[in-house]
C-alpha cells in the first residue's frame, strides 16, 4: 500500500513539475553555496600556507646565518658557547623577535560553513610576550559583507532548506481536503496516516537525495581529504533538522482546515525559529551578560605597561624574587631581553584578572546560548554545522587553549636561556617547543552534537506523534 502511495506521489510531484523545480532550485543553491565555500576555503588555505612558509623560510635563513657566523668563529678559533649580546645568536632572536608562527588550518569540511572563521584570527605569532594575530584570510573582508553574511552551505541548510520543505509540504493533505479529493482517496481501503506518511516520505526522499548528491559533489570537488565522516554527520544533521520541519509541517497540516492557513502558520514558524528567536537569544545574551568592551581591556593593559616600563628595575627585582633560580645576574647587569621578560610577566600578572573576567563573561554567554539554543532548531543546526566544518566556537576555543599551552612551554624553554645569556646554537632550533594541536576528531564533534540532536529528534517525534493521532481522527475528512 505504502509503496503504491510512494510511487504515485512521486508521479504527482513529477507531473506538475514540482519535483523538477524543487530539485533544480535546491541543487542550484547547493552548487552556488559550494562554489562560494570552496573559493573562500581555498583562499584561506593559501594565506595560511603562505604565513607558515614565510615563517619557515625566515627561521631557516636566520639559522643559516648563525651557522655561517659559527663557521667564521671556528675559523677564527673563538669559543662558541659564550655569553652573547642581543643579535642573531642571542636566544631573543627566536624567543621574542621571531617567535613561532602557528596557523589553524581549515578542517576538511570547512568549505561547507564559513562560520566564525572570517573573524577568528587563525594565524598567530607566539612570542615570549604572548600571541599576536597575523592577518588571516578574511581579515580585510569588507565589514558590510561580514554583516550580511556568506552564501555558504550552512546558510542554505539553516535558512533555505526549511523553506523548501515547507513549500513542498504545507498543504500535505489539507489541499486535497479542501478540494474534496481526499474523500475520493479515503473511500478506498487506505488510512489517512498511511497516506500522510507516504506523502512525507516521498518529499523527504526527494530533498534528501538532492542534499546527498549536492553536498557529495561539493565534497568531491574539495578533494574530500578525510572529510567523509564529517560529511555523513552533516547529512545526519540535515536529516534530523529536515525531519523537524517535516514533522512540524505534518503537525500543522493535521490541525488546519485550509492549506493557506497552514502555509501562513508555517511561514510564521519559520520566521520565529530561524529569524526572530536566534536574534532574540542573541540580544538577550548580550544584554544579560555583556562582555566588557575591549576598550576597558586596552586601558588596563596600558596602565600596567606604563607602570612596568617606568619601574623596569623594580619589575626585575620582583621577578627575581618570584624566580630565585634565575637570579644569576645582578639587576644592573640585566639586558633588554631580561627586562622584557620581567616586564611581560608583570603585565600578564596584572592583566590576568581582567582577562579572566572577559573569559568568564564570554563563557557565561556561550553557556546561556547553548541552553537557550534549544528554543530554536535553527540555532542547534547552525552550531552543529559550524562544529562539523570546524569553524565554530568549540574548535577555536581548543585552539586558543593549545596556543596558551605553547606560550607557557615557550616561556619555560626560553626564560632560562635569556638569563643564562648563552648563544642560541643551530642545534637549539630543533629543540624549541613544538606546536601540536590535536584537532577535533569526527567522534569528538559527534559527542558535542549528541545532546542537541537528540533533543531535536525527540521534539520531532513528539510533533509527529501528535500529528499521527490527529490524522487517525475522522473529523478531518467529513
Amino acid at each position: 500500500m505504502l509503496k503504491t502511495i510512494l510511487r504515485f506521489e512521486a508521479k504527482l510531484l513529477r507531473a506538475d513539475g514540482t519535483a523538477l523545480l524543487t530539485a533544480g532550485v535546491f541543487l542550484a543553491l547547493i552548487g552556488y553555496a559550494g562554489y562560494v565555500g570552496i573559493q573562500y576555503a581555498d583562499e584561506q588555505q593559501a594565506v595560511l600556507e603562505t604565513h607558515a612558509a614565510q615563517y619557515a623560510e625566515r627561521i631557516a635563513g636566520i639559522r643559516q646565518e648563525v651557522v655561517e657566523m659559527e663557521a667564521e668563529m671556528i675559523r677564527k678559533g673563538e669559543a662558541l658557547d659564550t655569553k652573547v649580546e642581543l643579535g642573531r645568536r642571542h636566544p631573543y632572536m627566536v624567543g621574542s623577535a621571531q617567535g613561532r608562527v602557528i596557523t589553524l588550518m581549515p578542517g576538511p569540511l570547512s568549505p561547507f560553513a564559513v562560520g566564525q572563521s572570517d573573524l577568528q584570527p587563525n594565524a598567530l605569532r607566539v612570542t615570549m610576550g604572548g600571541s599576536q594575530a597575523l592577518g588571516g584570510a578574511a581579515s580585510l573582508e569588507n565589514p558590510f559583507k561580514l554583516l550580511v553574511g556568506h552564501f555558504d552551505l550552512a546558510f542554505v541548510f539553516v535558512f533555505l532548506f526549511p523553506l523548501l520543505i515547507l513549500a513542498l509540504t504545507f498543504g500535505l493533505t489539507a489541499s486535497e481536503r479542501e478540494t474534496g479529493l481526499l474523500r475520493m482517496v479515503l473511500a478506498q481501503p487506505v488510512r489517512l496516516t498511511t497516506l500522510a506518511a507516504g506523502k512525507v516520505m516521498v518529499r523527504a526522499v526527494l530533498l534528501f537525495a538532492c542534499a546527498v548528491l549536492g553536498t557529495g559533489a561539493v565534497l568531491l570537488m574539495t578533494g574530500a581529504n578525510g572529510g567523509g565522516g564529517r560529511w555523513l554527520l552533516w547529512l545526519l544533521v540535515v536529516f534530523i533538522y529536515g525531519g523537524f520541519w517535516m514533522a512540524l509541517a505534518a503537525f500543522v497540516d493535521s490541525r488546519v482546515q485550509r492549506p493557506v492557513t497552514g502555509g501562513l502558520v508555517l511561514a510564521v514558524c519559520w520566521l520565529a525559529f530561524v529569524v526572530v528567536i536566534p536574534a532574540l537569544i542573541n540580544v538577550v545574551a548580550s544584554t544579560l551578560y555583556p562582555v566588557p568592551s575591549r576598550m576597558e581591556y586596552v586601558t588596563a593593559m596600558r596602565t600596567e605597561t606604563s607602570v612596568a616600563q617606568q619601574q623596569g628595575a623594580a619589575s626585575l627585582a620582583q621577578f627575581f624574587d618570584d624566580h630565585p633560580e634565575l637570579a644569576s645576574v645582578e639587576a644592573d647587569e640585566a639586558d633588554y631581553a631580561m627586562l622584557r621578560v620581567a616586564r611581560d610577566e608583570r603585565i600578564a600578572e596584572a592583566l590576568a584578572p581582567v582577562e579572566a573576567r572577559f573569559a568568564a563573561q564570554k563563557a557565561r554567554q556561550q553557556q546561556f546560548i547553548r541552553s537557550l539554543g534549544y528554543l530554536s532548531p535553527a540555532v542547534l543546526a547552525q552550531q552543529a554545522f559550524l562544529d562539523l566544518a570546524d569553524t565554530g566556537h568549540a574548535r577555536y576555543a581548543a585552539f586558543t587553549a593549545t596556543v596558551e599551552a605553547l606560550h607557557t612551554d615557550w616561556k619555560a624553554y626560553f626564560v632560562p636561556k635569556y638569563f643564562a645569556g648563552l648563544a642560541f646554537r643551530p642545534s637549539d632550533y630543533d629543540a624549541v617547543p613544538a606546536f601540536t594541536f590535536s584537532d577535533f576528531s569526527t567522534v569528538d564533534v559527534l559527542k558535542r552534537m549528541a545532546g542537541p540532536l537528540t533533543a531535536l529528534v525527540l521534539i520531532s517525534a513528539l510533533l509527529g506523534m501528535v500529528a499521527y493521532r490527529r490524522y487517525t481522527r475522522t473529523t478531518l475528512i467529513a
Binding site: 573573524l119 584570510a137 533555505l160 536574534a279 542573541n282 576598550m295 576597558e296 586601558t299 535553527a378
Partner: protein, 467 residues
C-alpha cells in the same frame, strides 16, 4: 470617500485578533530591541569616555623619556558611537573600537566586538532597524496582500465597483487603511525614540541626532510606502489572494535574505578585496622603495654638514635623529596612507556596486541608508579612523619636530610639559549632510523604486480584473 474606505479597512484589521497579536509582538520587539540597543550604546559610550580619559592620563604620566620613545609608547583613540546606533548597529560589531596611534604605523581600528561574540550573532541580530527592515514589511504584506485579490475571491470587489466607486479612490483608501494601523506602531515608537534622545543622550547630541532621526524616519516611510504599493499592485494583478500572498512572501524572502548576499558576493567579485598577505606585501614593497634608514641618515648628515659647514657627522650641531625621524615619518606615512586609502576606496567601490544592486532589492538601499544616517556604517568608521590618523601623524611630528628644535639625540629626554603640549584627541563626527551625500545612489535607487511603483500602481489598478 477615501477616508471612509480607509476606516473600514482599518476597522477590519483591528477587529482581527491575529492582527492585533502580530502588531503587538512587532511593537514589543521594536521597543525591546531599542531598549537593548540603548543600553548597549550607553554602556559602550560610558566605557569609551572612561577609557579615553584614562588613556590621556596614562599619556600625561608616562614619565620622562625620549620624544621618540613616547611616540612609540603611543596613545589610543577610542571610537565614539552615535546615539542613533541604538536603533541601527550597522557594521559596528564588525569594525574595531580603538586605534593605537604610534610612530611609523597607519592602522585601522582593532578589537572588533564580533570577535568576542558568540556564533549565534551570525544568524542575525535583533535591532530596531532589523525589526523595521524585516518584520514591519512582512506585516504590511500580510495586511495588504488580500486588498483586491481577497475581495475578488469573495466577490465583494464586483459589488463595490458596481456602486460607482472610482478604482483610484478604492486603491488610495486601501493604502491608507493598511498604513493607518502601522501608525499605531510607528508613532509611539518614534515619540519614544525622540524622547529618549532628547532626555538621555549627552548635551549636543540631540541637535546632532534629531536631523538624522528625521532623515531615518523619512527613509523608512518611503520604504513602507514602496512595500504597500507593491502589495497593492500584486494584489490587483494576482489571480487569487493565495497567489498574491505567495508572490509577496517570495519577494520579501528574496530581497531580505538572498539578494543581499548575492549582491555583496558580486560586488566583491567585481572589486576583489586584497588578501591580507597581498596587502601587507604591497605596503612592504612601497616602504622598501623608500631610502633605507642608514641611507636616509647618511643623506641627512651630508646635508647638515653642508648646511652647518662642518667636516664630520659628529660635529653636526643639529639633531640628525630628529630630522631622520621626521622625514621618515612623512615618507612612510605617505606610503601607508596611500595603501589604506586604496583599501578604503576598494570598499567604497564595493559599496557603490551594492547600491546598484539595490535595484533588485530596495531593502539593500534602506539598509545602507539606515546605517549611514545612524552613523554605524563603514564610512563613519573610516571618518573616525582617518581623524585618528591625522591626529597620530600630527602628534608624532610635533614630537619629532621637538627633537629637531631641541637638538635632541636618542638619549635626550623630555617630561610632562611636553606631553601636555600634545592636545587630547578630540573627534567630531560628520554632519547629516555628509552622511546622506555618501549614499546619494541608494537614495536615488529608493526614489526610483517609489517612482516606478507610483507609475505602475494606477495602471495595475486600472487594468485589474474584477472577476
Amino acid at each position: 470617500m477615501v477616508l471612509r474606505i480607509a476606516r473600514k479597512e482599518a476597522t477590519e484589521m483591528l477587529r482581527d485578533g491575529r492582527f492585533r497579536w502580530a502588531v503587538g509582538i512587532v511593537f514589543i520587539l521594536l521597543v525591546g530591541a531599542f531598549l537593548a540597543g540603548w543600553k548597549h550604546y550607553a554602556d559602550v559610550e560610558t566605557q569609551r569616555m572612561a577609557a579615553q580619559e584614562a588613556d590621556r592620563e596614562i599619556w600625561l604620566t608616562q614619565g620622562e623619556k625620549n620624544q621618540h620613545s613616547a611616540a612609540h609608547f603611543g596613545t589610543y583613540a577610542f571610537k565614539p558611537t552615535m546615539p542613533l546606533t541604538a536603533l541601527d548597529q550597522g557594521v559596528l560589531p564588525y569594525t574595531g573600537v580603538s586605534v593605537f596611534m604610534e610612530a611609523h604605523s597607519v592602522k585601522d581600528a582593532a578589537f572588533r566586538p564580533a570577535e568576542d561574540a558568540t556564533t549565534v550573532q551570525r544568524l542575525g541580530s535583533l535591532t530596531a532597524a532589523s525589526t523595521l527592515q524585516l518584520l514591519v514589511p512582512l506585516l504590511l504584506i500580510l495586511l495588504a496582500f488580500s486588498a483586491f485579490a481577497g475581495e475578488r475571491d469573495q466577490g465583494t470587489l464586483r459589488q463595490i465597483l458596481s456602486l460607482g466607486v472610482p478604482r483610484s479612490t478604492l486603491a488610495f483608501g486601501k493604502a491608507l487603511g493598511v498604513a493607518s494601523p502601522l501608525m499605531l506602531l510607528i508613532l509611539p515608537a518614534t515619540v519614544l525614540g525622540v524622547a529618549a534622545l532628547v532626555l538621555l543622550a549627552g548635551p549636543g547630541s540631540p541637535m546632532w541626532s534629531l536631523g538624522r532621526a528625521a532623515l531615518l524616519v523619512g527613509v523608512y516611510v518611503v520604504y513602507f510606502v514602496i512595500i504597500i504599493m507593491l502589495s497593492l499592485v500584486v494584489s490587483a494583478r494576482a489571480s487569487s489572494s493565495r497567489t498574491a500572498l505567495v508572490a509577496l512572501l517570495g519577494f520579501w524572502l528574496l530581497t531580505s535574505f538572498i539578494v543581499p548576499r548575492l549582491v555583496t558576493d558580486a560586488a566583491e567579485a567585481i572589486h576583489p578585496t586584497p588578501t591580507s598577505i597581498a596587502f601587507r606585501d604591497s605596503v612592504r614593497a612601497g616602504l622598501t622603495a623608500l631610502p633605507s634608514w642608514s641611507d636616509r641618515v647618511a643623506e641627512i648628515e651630508t646635508r647638515l654638514m653642508d648646511e652647518h659647514e662642518v667636516e664630520s657627522p659628529e660635529a653636526i650641531p643639529a639633531s640628525v635623529a630628529g630630522y631622520a625621524l621626521f622625514e621618515a615619518e612623512r615618507d612612510e606615512t605617505d606610503v601607508r596612507r596611500a595603501h589604506m586609502a586604496a583599501l578604503g576606496h576598494r570598499y567604497e567601490q564595493q559599496k557603490t556596486a551594492t547600491e546598484f544592486g539595490a535595484v533588485l532589492s530596495p531593502l539593500l538601499a534602506v539598509q545602507l541608508l539606515s546605517m549611514g544616517v545612524a552613523g554605524s556604517d563603514y564610512a563613519h568608521h573610516r571618518h573616525f579612523a582617518d581623524a585618528a590618523e591625522e591626529y597620530r601623524y600630527d602628534y608624532v611630528q610635533v614630537l619629532n619636530q621637538d627633537m629637531i628644535d631641541q637638538n635632541a639625540g636618542w638619549d635626550f629626554t623630555v617630561d610632562r610639559a611636553m606631553w601636555e603640549q600634545i592636545p587630547p584627541f578630540d573627534y567630531t563626527s560628520p554632519t547629516a549632510g555628509w552622511a546622506t551625500r555618501h549614499y546619494g545612489l541608494s537614495l536615488l535607487v529608493l526614489v526610483f523604486w517609489a517612482a516606478m511603483l507610483l507609475f505602475v500602481t494606477p495602471i495595475a489598478i486600472r487594468q485589474m480584473n474584477v472577476a
